[in-house]
């Protein structure tokens, strides 16, 4: 059995070594695949804050992924058509600058998470799952009927947005940007889980009554976790849209929500690197199995069933031999 600490280091090493090799061997497609894995990992690290730490089974995280995507799509669309986003009461222009887009994505998805979380946290358990799923569907149908931004067809952005000092059109530079964000967010999540807030949240998941007795509001703790979680997934959505230079209602679909959750399960719930390992495995499966058969999702479904029924703790749990993430 390999210690979880070493396993985490190995997973992170893959994110450095494989793209470095691909750059050296001039294989830009591999870099794109790794970028995809890094962005999916980021989205799942976001969901893992709500799911793993807060115990909130949200089946609607595609809402935030999609909001991030459309924040990028709408801002860049107005920049590329040279039309202002809004003229009244003050003028807002579109932009091609990544930092501005990211900030917009984070703020908007945090706001959406605040509203959705506030409503959904009135309930718990299976209601919470159904309600988050339903809100996801609401955004999906809204984006389909929102004809100003492409409706069902989505929006294409011709040139990738820029970051000061970098040439984002080079796959390796954009990858570096995504990996840096992933590392920062992983560090932040690590700190968050050990902060007073993280410990209180952990307790609120396990025994909400005791948390209440010591004078903390468990619902409020969960709401804050949900908002942070949504904001991170929103940022991932903006990056994903920039990777594809395309946004469409698919980013809001319930399948997307399910997939983000699948990344976590494949890797291992409530483990810092669980979602990262899961996203990596998912992209690898998508690439290799997808090349073998058009119907590769059948195999993914079967694999997922086996993991849920027999292999608690996901890939990291199986390899490190420790089923439970919490000691």
């Amino acid at each position: 059995m390999i210690g979880e600490r070493y396993l985490n280091a190995a997973i992170l090493a893959i994110f450095f070594v494989v793209p470095a090799w691909a750059y050296w061997a001039n294989e830009p497609f591999t870099i794109t695949l790794m970028t995809r894995a890094a962005i999916f990992a980021l989205a799942a690290v976001g969901l893992n804050i709500a799911l793993g730490l807060g115990g909130l089974v949200s089946l609607g995280h595609a809402v935030f992924f999609g909001i991030g995507g459309y924040a990028m799509g709408v801002l860049a669309f107005h920049a590329q058509t040279f039309t202002p986003l809004m003229e009244w009461p003050f003028v807002i222009e579109g932009t091609k600058s990544m930092p501005v887009i990211w900030l917009t994505a984070i703020v908007l998805s945090a706001l959406a998470a605040l509203v959705i979380g506030h409503l959904s946290l009135r309930t718990s358990g299976v209601y919470f799952i159904m309600i988050t799923l339903a809100f996801g569907q609401m955004f999906f149908f809204f984006s389909i009927s929102w004809s100003a931004y492409g409706g069902e067809d989505g929006l294409s952005i011709y040139v990738r947005n820029g970051f000061p000092g970098l040439n984002t059109l080079q796959p390796i530079q954009f990858y570096g940007l995504c990996l840096s964000i992933l590392c920062v967010v992983l560090w932040f999540t690590h700190r968050l889980a050990r902060s007073p807030f993280g410990l209180a949240l952990n307790a609120a998941r396990q025994v909400p009554q005791r948390v209440e007795t010591v004078g903390l509001d468990p619902t409020r703790l969960k709401l804050v976790a949900f908002v942070i979680s949504g904001a991170i997934t929103g940022l991932a959505g903006a990056l994903f849209a920039d990777l594809n230079r395309f946004v469409s209602p698919t980013m809001f679909s319930w399948q997307m929500s399910g997939e983000i959750m699948v990344f976590i399960i494949i890797g291992g719930v409530a483990r810092l690197f669980g979602p990262v390992a899961g996203a990596l495995v998912f992209v690898a499966l998508e690439h290799f199995l997808g090349g073998l058969s058009e119907y590769w999702l059948v195999y993914l479904g079967a694999l997922l069933l086996v993991i849920v029924l027999f292999g608690r703790g996901g890939v990291i749990g199986i390899v490190s031999g420790r089923e439970k993430a919490h000691g």
């Binding site: 299976v126 159904m130 309600i131 339903a134 809204f142 100003a148 319930w254 079967a302 997922l304």
Partner: protein, 306 residues
């Protein structure tokens, strides 16, 4: 905006709601008795529709097609319960969500494998097609009226099954205290398989009935499944009455919202903006309804107060 249009749309909403009820009833039954959240319920709806389309294409008989839909969905439901679902009862909701999500992937891609990606068509039989004249001279499609009647009959039958028969008593007892009825000598695992197959059969019938007015394709089940979740959230989990009222409320809101919201907005703004904002709002109407009911009653209209 005439009276005739209003009646037509109310009937459409009713028809949509009744079909949602068939889905929601199975889901709420399965949740009430076994405490299981089943995302794969939409797949059973799809299986029913495909079985009906295949049998109708082969034999040309609509009645046989409906019987095939019921049988196929119930059998697949029973098998899935025996192989997968029963391992999930004592697991947490996250595991149930993931395992049933995995089942969706298997069923959807498996169906695509068998039948291809192109939609199939299930024709309305001659004796049910064409319009019928309602009192007041309103023309309405006979088949949609048939759906309302059949759906209501199934709802009444289901109500009788649950309140009047021995098996219904066992189901209700299972909702209240599963250890106790097991102790009374009732084979609880057989009861679970039966309830799951019953829910699956209802979904299959709904899929076949709706399949005749929409196209039969992979992925047709999930939008209906999510609407059925909205119905359950509105009606309250485990309540059959809640499922019926919630379903009709959702059906009417969705149908009437799509027609009347753009018209209402035309009173305050120009037609083009009214149409685009109105249709966007209409697509969100049922979720806004759900949010409002949640604020008012977090456990739904007929849910247990906790």
């Amino acid at each position: 905006m005439s009276f005739i249009l209003l009646v037509e749309q109310v009937l459409n909403g009713l028809q949509f709601g009744i079909m949602l009820f068939l889905m929601a009833a199975g889901l709420t039954l399965i949740f009430g008795v076994m405490g299981l959240i089943n995302l794969a319920h939409g797949s059973l709806y799809m299986i029913g529709a495909f079985a009906a389309a295949a049998v109708a294409g082969y034999t040309g008989s609509f009645v046989l097609a409906l019987a095939a839909a019921l049988a196929a969905a119930a059998i697949v439901g029973a098998v899935v319960e025996l192989v997968v679902i029963r391992r999930l009862y004592d697991k947490d909701h996250l595991d149930q969500v993931l395992a049933t999500f995995a089942l969706i992937l298997v069923f959807s891609e498996g169906t695509r494998w068998l039948f291809g990606s192109f939609p199939l068509f299930l024709d309305i039989p001659d004796y049910l097609s064409g319009p019928v004249t309602l009192p007041g001279g309103i023309q309405y499609p006979l088949y949609r009226l048939f759906l309302i009647v059949v759906g209501l009959l199934i709802a009444i039958g289901l109500g009788a099954l649950i309140t009047k028969t021995r098996i219904g008593i066992q189901i209700r007892a299972g909702e209240n205290d599963r250890e106790m009825i097991a102790a009374l000598g009732i084979d609880i695992s057989r009861l679970y398989t039966l309830v799951f197959a019953l829910g699956a059969g209802l979904a299959g019938i709904a899929g076949a009935l709706v399949g005749a007015i929409q196209s039969v394709q992979v992925g047709m089940g999930e939008p209906v499944l999510i609407l059925a979740f909205v119905v359950i959230v509105i009606g309250g989990i485990g309540s059959m009455k809640g499922a019926l009222i919630g379903a009709i409320l959702v059906g009417l809101t969705d149908t009437l919202g799509g027609i009347f919201l753009p018209e209402l907005l035309k009173l305050v703004t120009d037609p083009a903006t009214a149409t685009s904002i109105g249709s966007s709002l209409a697509s969100m109407a049922i979720y806004i309804l759900m949010g409002a009911i949640l604020i008012w009653r977090p456990t739904g209209l007929f849910g247990a107060r906790s």
